[in-house]
Structures are given as C-alpha cells and as structure tokens.
C-alpha cells in the first residue's frame, strides 16, 4: 500500500519537527544545564529545589496561571461564540482589534493600564501589586487567543449543526450550551493550553504591574538570578522545574484536545443577527471590547497630550516620524517597515514549522509532537536565550538567528491552531481521495491544505503578531538597524523627556494600527465568511 513508505509526508514532517526542536530548543537547554551543573555541585541544586521560597513561587505561579486561564476563557468565550453565530458589519475590524493588545510591548500596555487603574488614576482601586491587576492584564493580553482560535474554529465548522439544533426547537442559549460549546471543546482546550503556558511564564506584566515581587513567576526569578550574577545553576534548575510543571499541565489539555476532536464539515454562510441576536452581541462583545480599548485609548490620548502639555500637540508624532540621524534611535517609518518585513518572514517560517508539527501528529501518528509543540512557550526565554548563545554562538547578531527565534515562538500558535482542524477533517474525505488514487503528498496538497486554510491563517496571523510584538526579544542579539516598532518604542522610552515619551506613544499607536491592518488582511486572505 502506498503511503507506508519512508517518504510519507507525515514522517518527513516528524523528522523536520524533531530537528527543529532539537536544534533550537534541546541543544541550547542542554548546554545551559551542562554549564549550570558543572558550575555547582548537585547539592546546590537540591538546595534550590528545597528552598521554601521557590516552592512558594511555584505555588503562586500555578494559582495565578490557573485563575488567568479560567478568567480569560470566561471573557473570551462569549465573544468567540458570538463571532461563530453571526455575520455583522464591522466584524472583521472587531476581530482584528482584539488581537492588538497581544502585540503591545508590556511597558506600553502596562502604562495604559496604570493610566486607568494605577495609583492616582481615574479608577485608582489600589490595585498595584495585586493579583486582581495581574489577572486583568492577562485577560487583556490573552483573550484574543480564545476569540480567534475558538471563534475561527466554530465559524468554519458549526453552522449546519447549529441549524439542525434550531430546527429541533433548541433556543440560542441551549444551542450554545449543548451543541456549540461541546463541538468547540478541542479549540477551547487548545486555547486554554496556550493561555495557561503563557501566563505561567508571564514576565512583562508581572514586573510592571506587580513590582513588589509577591506575584513573581518562576520566569521572573530566573531573570533576576541571571541578571544579578549569572547564576546558571539557579537558572537551569528553575527553568527545568518551570518546563516540567508547564508541560505536565499543558499535557493534560493536549490529551483532552486529542480525544475530543470531532469530524466537521463546512456549513452554510452565517446569519445576520435578529433583534435578540443584537442584544446577545452587545452583551458578549462589549466587555472584552472595553477591556481592549480602554488601555489602548489611554495610550492614543497620551500620544497627542503628553504629560505637562497644555493642550493637544503633534510633537510626539512629528518626533516619531522625523528621519533620525542617530544610530540607535529608529524613526517610526523605518521601524514600521522593518516590523512588517520581519512579520512576513516569521509568519512564513512559523507556519512551515507549525504545519510540520500538526501534520506529523495527525497524519504521521507521532503523538509526542503534540505536547512537544508547546515546549518553546513553556521554556524560560532568559535561559533559552543564553543557551542559544552557548550552543550556536555563530548566530549572535545574525538575521538567521533572529528569524529562527521568531519561528520558534510562533510555531506553537500555528500548531495549536492547526491540530483541531486537521483532526476534524472527516476521515471519509481522506479515504475517498486515497481510494481515488491520491498518494499522501497529493492528499496533503489537495485535501488537507484547502480545508486548513482558515486555521493556517489564524495560526499564521498569531505568528505574525508574535513577530510584531516583543516576543523572543530575550532570545537573540539584534542590530540597531533591525529596530522593529517595539524596539523603537523601548529606544524612546530609554531616553528622558516629554518628546521621547510622546514619540513612544505615537509609535505604540502606529503598532496598534499596523497590527490591526495585518490581522484584517490575513482574515480576508483566509476567506472567512465564505464557508
């Protein structure tokens, strides 16, 4: 029988995926662990593991990540369901805007948050350093993961089943509860796994909104121990603990996800909402929209009314986009172009890598790669960054190194988005193609790829967003002429003075708009709504 040979694309994909992980993740991690263990006898490592301080950190990190995941699902799911049920004007814009927080540099979004609820702000609730503020920020950052993954999955798949339920007399709530949600379980779990791993390894939100240290994640502790005196033994140990715990929890999600996949078929176009539907839309979409827009609006406001200004001024915008004659202070125009170029390369590479993972898991039967695809997000970036430097010093400051790092961080999003959809392709379709004589390569191109288009676009979109954001910054060395928008924002925020501050805010607004446009464009490419 064809397809059992060595050239089956499922096996080729598995080899590629394994090589990807081995080179970019395992070799660097092993290099750090080897250095860390060589630097300290095992007794020292045991001491770290037994230190009640780190045990407490671990417990708090677990608690925080669990609550963050539950809350993010609670805020994101109603919106995702609304997206899946209705077609309405402004939907694409709304979906794109939900992704904007995801890419905002934490210092900028943190400033937006503090402008609203921080000490001395209009809604000062004494929230600085509290778990509540950390959770709110995590929901702000991550609810796009739920909306896009679950909404996209359902939209492509659900209408006909829902119509059937409606025909049988089920109301909209009942339909959502009994039909849509169970149907979406694989996508919900995929999103939950990502959100959990993300918040478990959270860094920027914590150091900005909870600088007191009470809610420091293991990731923050790794950073501090390395920054303080290059304590590789501590870094290696904490990184391994973080990895094991994150993967154990994420593993539960992936196992459930694999079990709950249902074959899906594309349905009819989505209906426009009726009068009740409009109420449902407003009720479900208004809270996440407010949560998204309020901190961002605060930033936009500050880009035209910087602190100390008597009234609106375009000073910041002019400063941001004036050509820069200083090396190390990129102009907004330059940085935007660099960001877009890098996002394109990263999305492409991450899609290839993530595609290889998903394909190897589902079509090649290499189940272990399912869980392994989350490894890059569960690994401490600080530790991984040092490991990459140790394992592959020649990459330092090269474009290849930068692209590889972005592909590494973007890959899990693509893999997570593809897995439920790939599992959902009815076996009958693939079998029919096989009976008709299509070999595995042809089935990949003609059956799987077309059916995966929405998921590819959703995953690729996140990979692009990862590159537009500041992800992976700790992983590699960059060059001043490669300043992306987040880097350019940090460059301005590294210099004192109102003009620099306003310029940073103006570039943050540029980043928001660029992200929104890229996401909207990708959604269009994905052909959402045509299904």
């Amino acid at each position: 029988m064809r397809g059992r040979g060595a050239l089956h694309p499922g096996h080729v994909a598995a080899v590629l995926a394994a090589a990807f992980l081995a080179v970019l993740l395992l070799a660097p991690l092993l290099a750090i662990v080897a250095r860390g263990v060589a630097a300290a006898p095992l007794a020292a490592l045991q001491e770290i593991v037994r230190d009640p301080f780190f045990a407490e950190r671990l417990g708090r990190t677990l608690l925080q990540a669990t609550l963050s995941t539950v809350l993010t699902l609670a805020v994101g799911l109603p919106g995702a369901l609304a997206f899946a049920h209705y077609r309405f004007p402004g939907k694409a814009a709304l979906r794109a805007s939900f992704t904007v927080p995801f890419v905002m540099p934490t210092v900028v979004a943190g400033a937006g948050f503090l402008a609203l609820v921080g000490p001395g702000a209009p809604l000062d609730v004494g929230a600085m350093d509290t778990l509540a503020l950390v959770l709110a920020a995590h929901v702000f950052y991550n609810h796009a993961v739920v909306v896009r993954m679950v909404g996209g999955f359902l939209e492509a798949a659900a209408p006909h089943l829902r119509d059937a339920a409606a025909t049988l007399g089920a109301g909209p709530l009942r339909t959502a509860w009994r039909v849509t949600l169970p149907l979406a379980l694989p996508a919900i779990l995929a999103a939950a796994a990502l959100v959990f791993v993300f918040t478990f390894t959270s860094f920027g939100v914590i150091v900005i909104l909870a600088p007191g240290g009470t809610w420091n994640t293991l990731e923050v502790e790794v950073y501090r121990s390395v920054a303080r005196s290059l304590q590789l033994d501590v870094a290696a140990t904490l990184a391994v603990v973080q990895l094991v715990v994150a993967m154990a929890v994420a593993g539960a999600y992936t196992a459930l996800q694999a079990r709950s996949a249902v074959p899906l078929r594309s349905g009819a176009p989505l209906p426009r909402p009726g009068r009740g539907g409009v109420a449902v839309l407003v009720a479900t979409l208004a809270p996440p929209l407010l949560l998204t827009l309020a901190p961002l609006a605060a930033l936009a406001w500050r880009s035209v009314v910087p602190p100390g200004a008597d009234g609106p001024t375009l000073l910041g915008w002019r400063a941001a986009f004036a050509p820069s004659d200083l090396l190390g202070v990129a102009s907004g125009g330059q940085a935007t172009w660099t960001s877009l170029r890098f996002a394109g390369v990263s999305a492409l590479l991450a899609t290839l890598a993530g595609g290889a993972f998903a394909y190897a898991v589902v079509r090649g039967g290499h189940r272990w790669l399912d869980r392994a695809s989350l490894l890059p997000l569960a690994t401490s970036s600080v530790t991984l960054g040092l490991g990459i430097l140790l394992a592959w010093p020649a990459w330092a400051g090269t474009f290849a190194g930068l692209a590889a790092a972005h592909a590494l961080i973007g890959m899990p999003f693509v893999a997570r988005a593809l897995l439920p959809s790939l599992r959902g392709i009815p076996a009958s379709r693939t079998a029919a193609a096989a009976v008709a004589g299509a070999g595995p390569w042809r089935r990949l191109l003609r059956v799987d790829l077309p059916a995966l288009r929405p998921a590819l676009v959703a995953g690729g979109g996140f990979a692009a967003a990862v590159s537009l954001g500041e992800f992976g910054a700790a992983l590699v060395l960059t060059r001043p002429e490669w300043a992306t928008l987040p880097v350019a924002i940090y460059q301005r925020l590294g210099r004192p003075g109102a003009e620099n501050y306003a310029a940073a805010m103006a570039m943050a607004v540029t980043l928001m708009v660029a992200t929104g446009l890229v996401m909207a464009l990708l959604d269009r490419l994905g052909g959402r709504g045509e299904w």
Binding site: G110, P306, A309, L327, G328, A433, T478, G497
Partner: protein, 386 residues
Amino acid sequence: MPHPTPTRRPAAPRTQAPTAVVARAVRRLAAAPAAAALLAALLAALLAALPVAAAQTVTLVTHDSFTLPEARVEAFEAETGLDLRLVSGGDAGAMVNRALLTAGRPIADALFGIDDALVAREGARELFAPYAADGLAAVPEGLRFAGDRLTPITVGYVTLNYDLDALEARDLAVPTDLRDLTTPAYAGQTVVTDPATSSPGLAFVLTTIARFGEGGTYDWLDYWADLRDADVRVTSGWSDAYYTAFTRYGGDRPIVLSYATSPAAEVMFAETPLDAAPTGSLHCDECAWRQIEAAGVLAGGDEDAAARVVDFLLAAETQAAVPEAMFVYPARDDVPLPDAFAAYAPAPPEAAVATLDAARIEANQARWLEQWTQVVQRGRAPDEVR
C-alpha cells in the same frame, strides 16, 4: 470553496507504458516540493534584501541604550576602511553576561557599556585585552577604573530626581539628604530600580553602602529596611520607574532614581520651550554614584580592528557628540559641553559623589545583592541576613 477533486482519473493500471509511469511519478513528486521550493525562493528573496558587507567588518557589542550620530560612524568607516557592525547585547548587565558566556570566542571584537560595578563580576576583567587608546591622556586619572583593560568613554551620575510641581502640590520640601526619604512625610513618594536587574539600581545600592557603611549602628541594610517600611517602590528597569511610576509621566511617585542629566533632557525635549527644568536632581553629600561606562578590546576577537573602534569612541569628535546622543558626560575633559548641560545639568560636586574601593565592590557585590534581596524583596530584618 469547491469540494476537493481527488484526482483527474482513476488509479492507472499497472500495464501502463513505463514512460507514463515515470512522468506521473515525477508530477506527483514535484507537486509537494514545488510548493516548498516556492516558499524557499520567497524566503531567500526576503533574506537577500539584507546588505552584504564587502569591506572587512569589525563588530562592536553595546548595551541597548547606545546611540551615536550616524555621521560619526560613517566618518569612522571612511577613515579606517572598516565596516562597523553594531550588535545590541540587551541591557548592560545582560550584555556583560553574554560576553562572559562566550569568553575566549567572543561574539564581537569590541565592547562598549561595561561600568565600574559590572566589571566586578567574576571573570569580567579578563574578558579584555590590555590596550592604551589614543587620547587616553585627556581622560582624568580618577576615571580609569580598570587599569589598562578598559577605556572610559562616558560618565553619568546616578542620583534621585524629583518632580517640582508634584512635591509642591503635596506640600513636600525638596529632600536634602537620603535619610529624608525614610521619614513619614516621604512615605510612598519614592521609586527606585532593582539592583539585580538595572545598572542605576545597582549604582544606588552602592551609593547607600558608601554613605551608611557596613556594620555600624545604622548601616546600609538598616537604611533599606527603613526605605522598605516607607513603602519605596522597586521597579525592574529605569523606563518602568521613570515613565510609569514617576508623577511627571502620570505615576504617583514624585521622587525617582535617574541621572543628574535627566533635568536637562526635560528641558531639551519639552513640548513647549521651558526656561526652567521641571525636575531637579539631588546633589547632597554622598548621594550620587559616578557611573563610568567603558569600552574594551575583547580578547580572542580581531584585536587590531577592535582597537580602532576604541580609539574612535574616545576621539574628540565622538566625545563631543556623546552628551546629546546618550545624556551622559564625555570621559575626556577637553571637549565642550552643550549649553543645556551647563545650565540644567551641571555635574555634581565631588562631595556629592559616593565612592567605594573597586576591590571591595568586586569582593562583596554578590553578597550585597543577596542581602538587599532578602531585606527589600523578602521582608527580612537586617540582622537576619548579616
């Protein structure tokens, strides 16, 4: 979206002519790789957009706050025929860590941005090959903190800044001593940065060690315990402190750890022309730290080319550009300062500068940071950690 058509025709019978079988196999095999080749070509096109260096390249690794006029870099390249490749190594601490990890097979030929506190890390001094830069004679003796291994390039003064309007609105006087900050009136007014993760934070801890000493009746750890009890906020880095916690930028703290030059920047980058700085910096006795940032030739790299880079950083024209590019003072004492510096950011008097013996910093820094973390971050009493 059409339903996928499996194939154009049913599986070919085995009796087909051999050429047809080969042709079909080639078509099938080509289909998948063709897509891959297309993607690879696209990728190659994107990668090819990068400039390819023709001249000999020399690499300088810096911290990510490094800035210089492009014209200076172009002048260097024209003079030496070398291509200057800049690499950002993260913040100063991260950059030194990266250099330490790659000692012997360095990621760059030259390094700029290591200061007198960071050089105290184990093995840091040995990263550099001895070199005496052209123009070293113009650098005051007192700035040369690492013998012949490092060349001082910039001088900054880490000190507390205050927001004049916010202090006035809160009926608070401008503090005149570090001890003021621990009094009830100033509780909840100060933000500093984490010495483990930020170089001004480390400089400020060293300042308090110099000012209050170690082991007396009231030493630096007692001071930090008092600051902690006065609700000092500790942020991870300078930007978080200055742009999110400082009252001038919408925060709630009118006193922030920054640099003596920051008030000048507030004037130069104001939205409307100012005739007085809206912020000030503390110049009380032993309350500023002189942070000297140096450049060096990394051992094991292209040491000759690296030496040209160090010369370039210390050249009078480059030194003259340093104040406005990086908001620090030049290490040379024979270059003029911009007017705003003279008016709003005079260098603190010698009495304001706290100093510690370099050997003492080197021997004790790791312990000090651990003690600081225990007292400030984990709430221990000073006696428990001495």
